[in-house]
Amino acid sequence: MSDSRTADKARTKQLLGRLKEDPTARDELVHLHMPLVEYLARRFRGRGEPLDDLIQVGSVGLLKAIAGFDPSRGLEFSTYATPTVLGEIKRYFRDHAWTIRIPRRLQELGLSISKTIPVMSQELGRPPTVPEIAQSLNVSDEEVVEAMEAGRAYSPLSLDTPAGDDGEDQMARMGAEDDSIKLFEAWSTVKSLLAKLPVRERQVLQLRFVAGKTQTDIARELGISQMHVSRLLGKTLTFLREAGKDED
């Protein structure tokens, strides 16, 4: 075992012993074990959830482990914390189970549809219909509907994403600061909730509901897929409804 790991173990033991009387001990324990959380979160990369979100969820597991650890049982803290952190991350996926159970054929068809939509929109001068997409990809209408439904289940909106973490370049390019103000004016009843949304979500709302652009236009403007715009709109409107009730 390396000297640093031995030192970490000793420090962990000290901190756990001081938890009740020293409020800073908890913070230091979190800091000391964040590499473990990051390591465990990375094992779930590539499943449709941002790594930062997984680390955040894993941190909750770490806090639970700190609160529930009993040194008298003779376990090492990291041994105890690992299943707690993993459990929290797995629970997160279970709560969004549909995000990781999409059959591969539907994922692949969904990708093909995403690529086809802008091409067909360009050719047709309007967004395509489902039968047109189906014909272009040589699949049935039902398969297109199924893949699009599955695509909507991918990557739910993270309401903990701090506002402004995404699309700063886009914002500067589009002058979205002014546009956000327009959205705030138009939707004054939910002004405080709008401020909690990430920039990208506010941009999509503004473009759809204030500028009156179609989802396909928004997708082109922001450089994302129409299906992504659709997901963002659905999740954001649901958030505004639900959070609005909590505020009442």
Partner: protein, 126 residues
């Protein structure tokens, strides 16, 4: 396509069934993908609006039928309401969203039910 009627319990957990059902019918009726998503979101919003103002004591009835170059949806909910639409709805987000997503929207009383009628054009007209 003939008129299709769907009944589900009037609970928040079923709101997305209504939107998904409307989207599925929109796809079969030849709406563009943008129009399909608009009617899905509009039905979600209408259902949430009815739950807020009328309550969740019965069931939703969603009637969808083709009309001209588009799809018409009527979402009904039985419940206790003194006035439909209530005056405060005028300034609520739900109304703004419904107006933005639909080509026509109206708030009607049908028998003992509060209803929201939505019409969405197919979007294939250039």
């Amino acid at each position: 396509m003939k008129a299709v009627v769907l009944r589900v319990p009037s609970a928040p957990a079923f709101v997305h069934f209504l939107g998904a059902h409307a989207a599925g019918l929109g796809a079969r009726a030849g709406l563009t993908i943008d129009a399909i998503d608009d009617i899905r979101l509009a039905i979600d919003e209408a259902a949430a609006c009815l739950l807020d103002h009328v309550g969740n004591h019965s069931e939703f009835v969603l009637e969808i039928m083709p009309r001209g170059d588009g799809l018409e949806a009527h979402l009904l909910l039985d419940g206790r309401f003194e006035e439909w639409p209530p005056p405060e709805l005028e300034s609520e987000l739900a109304r703004k969203v419904l107006v933005a997503l639909s080509d026509e929207v109206s708030f009607e009383v049908r028998g003992d039910s509060a209803a929201i009628r939505i019409f969405k054009k197919s979007g294939t007209d250039l």
